[in-house]
């Protein structure tokens, strides 16, 4: 079982899945920060003065971590950050689910019309979190740029 989980191809596959997902999710947020900020506001978790700076920064964290995971650079730092982001998404979704607050999740789109599919979103975030943790713990350099750099130095 351990061999399967730590299989280098599996780690690479997860890096690509998580990386592409985060890269894709970040683009719409970068282009439309006002709509993303509104979504953050709708979650009613962050205090008002932090909403905009969060909405400006988070998409770039997602973009950089996504690109780094795909290329295989700073894999540990990127998967740690992605795991933290996913944990906070999961907490935010659950809190609002329990509160009964009606939030349109802006994970892939910034359209507030997007159907709320809370359970599915939670499941997806948990799956991504497990992949991200697997990348962090088994951190294999298989097919990664950081391996190339390590060899040179």
């Amino acid at each position: 079982m351990k061999e399967l989980i730590s299989n280098k191809w599996l780690v690479l596959l997860f890096r690509l899945i998580v990386g592409i997902t985060f890269l894709y999710a970040s683009l719409d947020k970068i282009v439309h920060p006002d709509q993303f900020a509104r979504i953050v506001y709708n979650y009613k978790i962050l205090p008002g003065f932090l909403i905009n700076i969060f909405a400006i920064t988070l998409p770039w964290v997602e973009l950089l971590c996504g690109v780094f995971l795909i290329l295989g650079l700073f894999i540990e730092g990127s998967s740690t950050l992605i795991s933290l982001v996913l944990v906070s998404f999961i907490i935010a979704l659950s809190v609002n689910f329990l509160r009964g607050v009606d939030i349109a999740c802006g994970c892939f789109t910034t359209d507030p019309n997007a159907k709320k599919e809370g359970a599915w979103l939670l499941l997806r975030d948990v799956a991504l979190l497990l992949m991200s943790l697997q990348i962090l713990f088994f951190n294999l350099n298989f097919l990664s740029l950081q391996k190339v750099f390590q060899k040179k130095s």
Partner: protein
Amino acid sequence: MSIKKDSSRIILQAIAIVIFSLIIGIIYNSFSKEGISVKGNWSKKVVSDSLIVPYSYTKDDPPAISLGQAMTYFQTHNIIFLDARLESDYKAGHISRALNLPFEEFEQYYPKVEPLLPRDKNIITYCDGTECEASLFLARLLKTKGFNNLKIFFGGWTEWSKSGLPVEKSN
């Protein structure tokens, strides 16, 4: 390699990525046409003592009305209250005679509700309360569909039901 050395490297990488993102984010945002202010104002706007509207409400939106005005309109009968909340919330309790047109499922409900909305009548949209914007978004959508006699009651279901005004439930 020791765990301590590993974790400090990981933390350093993570902090560096966050700081780098913050810097590019702020630079990109300041050049982008869609850029937003770094320190946003997300507090509610107070129009008058009895009228509080969400931050996203602008002067181009249909007029906002207070609980008192909503009551007056309710008594004139020449109005239609439109509940912008989900059908389940509407069924659990709504303003008497209000119709349901959930903002989130607008496309699905609109064809059924449209025949019940004469263009010459005043239409008042509402949702849960000042914290919710479904009433505002619904009014904006209706405006694009050619409705002109629109008003928004931001106090919504919360203010109305707390004041002991006429309510209904449906099955």
